[in-house]
Symmetry: C2
Subunit: 496 residues, 2 copies
């Protein structure tokens, strides 16, 4: 059959294409070949998918090496606890229950220090509370005779499990001891039910507690000593990064709108900057979980134990309210009704000023949050922003001169021959720029709210005040910006 096929393939069908070249027509393949091709396709498709997955994983590892480090940390902690088991001290101390230490390590370890401590403390306290309660219930059950024992235990399991589950559904309790309530149910059922069979109940409870202690301490040591990732530090950087993104988006958005013919050398990078505000819109959930874990962390770096993490959520919320304005702005910019060049020119100067001054304010508070120093410049910059807003409002007022009152029959002939008349603009071409301007003004209002929340954060977290010397230097630098300057706040100013 293969031979016949080859013979058949000896005949070649050619078709002449318009450009003079000719193409070979390949005969339709047989069933076997079709099946073979299908299998080949499936295999190569599967390989491609696996390859893509691996490539994605590799890229993720390269982009964020801390994730790889976390994996190594988990492997390390598990191996250490297993070796502990192998080396017999753990096995001889608590026997087969040594496995609890291994389990604890597996379920308790989290990427961030805060997450791990939260789980560890919840696990320890949940186990302790449940253990004591279960011992009490066991004693009561054993006093009530063999017949009632299962009933007492069953009823207590039912009641306590229901109550603990209910507490997991209350939001304020959930964020504090969701995991603890789970462990409570787990341990309580374990001890209370085992109590019926295992004679050395106290021994069991003690072993469980001590293995959990071994596991949790090992986890905390590994997580805190090997390249620790602090939730608090992460939240802090996220907030600062988002503020910078917000400022970049705002400035980029308006600059692009008014200089559409301008230089577009690095379009991709510009687009990325413009879309930065979307990160702000979508980071609510991660901010909340980070703030939730951060409060469990001991003081680290520049953050005390009782750092006002909740205030970061407020800062995040006011950033989002700014980002909503940017959403509305970007829809203005992409709107179908394009504004006339004349009106754009009329307003471009003041719009650009508002956008650059408001992003300068945002960058200033971002820098203040980053360095954890109260900024002495914010007031000044807010003043500049408000002046720019005032200028924009004046420009808006003077727009009337450009407007073209549609001539009514009575005054058509009476109208004076004005020079300006050649340049008047229909109202529909004004609307997009007017909308943009009023959203811009709203944005500046929201920026002030953002500044207030950051200032509240500065008060709560007791940010230091910049010393007067550097303040003076900065003011001088505003006049002579060429001077060399290494101060962080100043760099932010110069960047603008």
């Amino acid at each position: 059959m293969a031979q016949g096929k080859e013979g058949f393939e000896g005949v070649e069908w050619r078709i002449r294409v318009a450009d003079g070249s000719s193409e070979v027509l390949v005969p339709a393949p047989g069933l076997v070949r079709k099946a073979w091709l299908a299998i080949q396709g499936m295999i190569s498709g599967f390989t491609m998918r696996v390859w893509k997955f691996l490539k994605k994983a590799w890229d993720m590892g390269v982009n964020d090496p801390r994730k790889v480090i976390h994996c190594i940390k988990v492997g390390l902690a598990l191996t250490v606890v297993s070796l502990f088991y192998f080396m017999r001290p753990l096995y001889e101390g608590v026997g087969g229950n040594a496995m609890w230490a291994v389990m604890t390590v597996v379920v308790v370890i989290e990427p961030t220090v805060g997450g791990t401590i939260y789980k560890c403390l919840n696990r320890v306290f949940g186990t302790l509370l449940a253990g004591f309660l279960a011992l009490g219930i066991h004693w009561i059950a054993s006093q009530s005779g063999e017949r009632f024992e299962p009933i007492v235990v069953g009823a207590s399991v039912f009641l306590l499990a229901s109550a603990a589950t209910f507490s997991r559904l209350i939001p304020s309790a959930k964020s504090l001891f969701d995991y603890g309530a789970l462990i409570f149910i787990l341990t309580f059922s374990f001890v209370a039910i085992s109590g019926y069979r295992v004679d050395k109940l106290l021994n069991l409870a003690h072993q469980r507690l001590s293995t959990i202690m071994i596991g949790t301490s090992l986890c905390i040591i590994v997580i805190m000593l090997v390249c620790p990732i602090w939730s608090g530090q992460e939240l802090h950087s996220l907030i600062v990064r988002n503020m910078d993104k917000l400022a970049d988006s705002m400035e980029g958005c308006i600059t692009q709108y008014f200089n559409q013919s301008g230089e577009c050398t690095n379009k991709e990078q510009v687009d990325k900057k413009l879309q930065g505000y979307k990160c702000v819109l979508s980071s609510k959930a991660s901010e909340e979980s980070m703030a939730n874990f951060a409060r469990w962390e001991p003081s680290h770096g520049r953050f005390n134990f009782r750092h006002p993490w909740k205030q970061y959520l407020k800062v995040g919320a006011s950033m989002r309210s700014c980002a909503y304005c940017l959403e509305a702005l970007s829809s203005c910019i992409n709107s179908e009704n394009q504004a006339s060049e004349l009106v754009k020119k009329h307003l471009s100067n003041s719009c650009l000023k508002v956008s650059s001054s408001s992003s300068r304010v945002i960058r200033e508070v971002a820098e203040s949050a980053k360095t954890m120093k109260k900024s002495s410049n914010t007031e000044l910059l807010i003043g500049e922003m408000n002046a720019a807003v005032q200028e924009l409002q004046n420009d808006l007022k003077s727009l009337s001169n450009l407007l073209n009152p549609s001539p009514t029959p009575e005054n058509k002939n009476l109208e004076a021959p004005m020079e300006a008349k050649a340049e008047t603009v229909p109202i529909m071409e004004i609307i997009p720029v007017v909308t943009l301007s009023s959203i811009l003004i709203e944005f500046s209002v929201r920026v002030e709210v953002l500044v207030d929340t950051v200032e509240e954060l500065a008060n709560l977290a007791e940010f230091k005040i910049h010393d007067d010397k550097s303040k003076q230097r900065k003011l001088n630098d505003k006049i002579a910006p060429d001077e060399e300057e290494t101060d962080g706040t100043m760099k932010a100013l110069q960047r603008v």
Copy 2:
């Protein structure tokens, strides 16, 4: 001392206040009394907090009885599995390892059916895979001599735990088998490490698997039979509810703006309606988790196994983009620059038309999604909405007539005495309404995108088409809306 105090209290200091009455000055209490008051305060404060917490919990239970039912379900499942343990069949079958069944129930049970099935399947497959792998590793380790055995086991634990942890950090893998990877690590370490001590390793693996099977099947039975809560159904209702909220907010917002002097009989209820869009803004996370669980659910109610849950996320995203517009709108409405009544009057009719027609469109698609029937009216309603938008644009164009071109010296005297001139308006009083109108127009564009995503959902989920009879009836009803009508789609139309 107490007596002296009483004696001292006999003297009363009075102060005469401006209005002629007099007030008694109470002397500062002593130290003991202060301490007593402080303790009293602490106790009453603590009682108050506990009382508040209990009240909150009670309210939560009353507002959402399904949460209470969930708690009872958890208690029930745990009691059943404990009784199973007490009644000896489970204990005699698998001995002390019966406890695994109890643990499985505790950690696997979730409020929704999808969540429970996700965890059950992940637990079973994670255990299976890890068990087989661990047996293989154990065999290799036992072949490599007593000296190398811990090294082989330790290295394999390190490698596999790291790899599994890494897979948990990849978003696409995380949503599918996050819990499975955790269970994989747990079981693998458990079996591989125990292998060193426990002789009957195969027996252990078998017991673990069978107890897990018992626990998971019990959970699935309880969760699916006793008042089941389906993630899919929840997601579906959430999306429909949010669409209705969006329509209510939109309509309420514009109506309130243009009829501020109108009847405010039920202010609280109105405010609640206006704030409805905020639910849309904040429901991204819950939509995602619901969609994630929903794909594990078997076909239930009107939803098949492969219902296009992911499309719901797209619908949610386009609803959020509408809600961003509403955010911008509400900031316009609360803005400081109030519009002149004249301009408001000029635009109110068409603005109200756009708002009511666009919310009618949203309600129509909401109804279509709710009843899972393709709506035959959407096209018509979109047409109406676009006509309203066109009318609004025309009204905007004719705004020029109201505008007051600030008179320049040259044409001041030449200007004709127009009747309309007395009613002209400065541009700053026009801006708020113009901004509002253009956001309204943008909103209508986004509503069309929303309609498209819902239509895509209708195609993917194969919504039924309304039969021609009811379609005809509806068209007739549009002409004579007094006629009685029980059809759901129609009700939505009449509600508007």
